[in-house]
Amino acid sequence: MNLLLDKTRTLPGRIGLTVLAVVAALAVAEISSPFLAQQWALWIIFGQLALSLTFVWGYGGIFSFGQAALFGIGLYSYGAASINISPITGETYSSLLIAGLVAGLFALILGYFIFGIITLAVTLVLLTFMSSTGSPDYHIGSALLGGYNGMSGIPPLGSLASPLNAGYLLIFVVALAAIIVFILDLLLRRPIGRALVAVRENELRSQLLGYDVRRARLNAFVIGGVIAGLAGGEYAAWGQFANPAVFSLQQAALVIIWALVGGRRSLFGAFIGTIVIQEIQNVMGGIGGELTPLVLGGILILVVLLAPEGIMAAVYAFLQRIGLRVGRRPIASRPTVATDVEEHRPNSAGELLATDVTKSFGGVHAVKTVTAEFHPMTTTALLGPNGAGKSTFFSLLVGRHQVTSGKILLNGRDITRLPPHRRAQLGLGIKTQVPSVYNEMTVRENVWLAAYAKKRNVAESDAVTESVLKDFGITERQEALVGDLAHGQRQWLEIAMVVAGHPEVVLLDEPTAGMTRDETSRTVDLVKQLAHGATVVVVEHDMDFVRQLDSDVVMLHQGEVFRRGTIEELRHDEQVLDIYLGRAVTNASDT
């Protein structure tokens, strides 16, 4: 059984599943009544709409309230296109394509500006607009929008001479849904999919590694838009009408309930969720239609309270308990036995210059006119008491905060206004003060995503991962979930991830916090080694650590550069000691 399950994860396995779904639909269409075939076709169409949300939510991390609106756009697009075009072309498949494209385009434009809750407001405005287009003035070509009553006379799917009957329509929608799932599956193995997963799991870390968070989200939203639009087109062909009810809050809620019940962890779950809810609605419709919203509202609340991951998650948990390998898809490739360990050390060290960098929060100057030069192949330690502005300075360098004034140059290029992921791509790597890693993933996957952010090539990323794991001595732990690691081990992993991205300038913010003595001394060795091929800047409180590094020291105090020199010089500086020991300070600016 497990062997069979593993087989379905390979490409031919997926193709096999897709074909299987279509054959099953064929069989159902053959044996069932036209009425049943029609009902199932509708459910699969709705399932595809739910799938669009599951994808956008599960992989884009966007809780979109606008899928129903995109579905509605597809619905009206198919209507308008088919009424206008089909007399010329004699078929309506092209109109379905148009429905998908228009919805995708709409998602692109909308997604450029916003996601989230405002999509609900957009949906409501569309409802108002579409309901008020009753006058014959509102038309697209010869298709009347029809206001509250909607657009009628929409041709069914197929050629005009012989449209698809109920059975063939069912086969068509199942085939399309299966192909979409298949394509999504392929996409998730491509760079675009891996970036999506990275962004979903940890937005900050992904940005700092060089993944474009906004772009990844937009990609997911547009793909979801096309899927919802195609479903909308199919729905128009199915019912041969289009009305504004698709833009109602209740419809929007329904899509979310389908996807929620299915769960966001499984693309397939969207169809299960839809069928379960539609079946319940069928039964309720028999008892008393007016109770339906009550039941839907109740289901929504109960699922949120009791099964927030959806029923597919519960099913998976059960299957895993009885020993089947189902569920989460591994992000990185499986470890291979013999890989040529390539030389992964960065071989071009960068130069990072900060000039008069200032950051104010309201009236507080967290960083004040700091000028610092970090030259290739050097190590600099950044010292200073708590609140001196060290971490804020790092945040400015990597772009988590924007400078109030000043300039930052990387290898002569002005990066002052670049977003974090661009800076990362240009060779800036950071280990943040609080470790930011992918807690829900394995050690190996973490390192792999870091390597992949730079390489964008599976084979090369595999090789880099292999050698980084080995160099950091974490090969035995590679299958451990990162969330289960000790604090010091996560720190160590995060450094490994930074290294896997081959940065030219490495910023380490308190790398040894929470580390054992042994780990700390390994970190010293590592930093020294790193400095052979990169520029290293370290924030540390551990004086022993800084002394062992034997590097230049820049000391910040109250947001300003207070001293520069070697650690020995600073150790004998009375004012420095005053600040560190909290003694009365003779500095005028200190009150």
Binding site: A121, V122, A253, P293, L300
Partner: protein, 288 residues
Amino acid sequence: MDMSQAAAIVLSVVNSIALLVIISVGLAVIFGMMGLINLATGEFLMLGAYMTVTFYRLGMGFWVAAILGSLSVGLFGIIIERCLIRFLYGRLAAMMLATWGLSLIMIQVVTLIFGTSTQSLPTPLGSFKIGGYSFSDYSVVVDVAALAMLGLVYVVFTKTRYGTMARAATLDATMASVIGIDVRRVNMLTFGFGAALSGLGGALLSALAGVVPTFGQQYVGNAFMTVISGGAAVLTGTASASVLLGGVQGLVSNASTAFFGSISLLLVAIVLLRFMPNGISGKWGRRF
């Protein structure tokens, strides 16, 4: 343009700003102080309107009915917080969905009790004229009420013991509980206060529009856009977003039709959120 026309335009723009304030300030309190997007906001407005109609029909004056309507929605909010919301703190999406479920249920329950027919109240007070333009006195009451609601929020959160504790809980819930603030109780009261404000908004609207079970849905979109555009700062954020969005909406409505007014509101909100994803007050650093 003569003086009376200008005055008329100013008055109607002020009106659209005031309307945004009264529909969104309850949502803003809950969003800003608790980080919760209450998707049942529209239904809290609707409930406030129905309660006002009910109290009015029981023979109370409109103003008394409106106050009682508002208070009963506040009480309802406290019950909802105890029975539903408190299980979901820290789960933003879950809270949105649960309140959405609540909104579906509320619409249906109200439909079952009151039916779908429109309940309406006579608009209280008379009207006045500026030049050739006629305005109801009540629209001025709504303007004043909007200001009063903002003032109430200010006073409650800055001048009362509860308000100080609520702001502390917003800034750092853990720290607040460590120094002895009962955060759960504060949250309950905040949700109730926000609900009461929404209820008051609904009560005020009940004299302007026909009250039907889907009453809230006409306003909820605008309320969301205002609050999200305003950002987390309850008072300054909501006020500035209302002025901006309501101002644009009022001006465009005057120049063309009400429909284009709401479209312009949507477009301004969308563009604004592209460049200020955390709303107008997102970078102010002050959460009030």
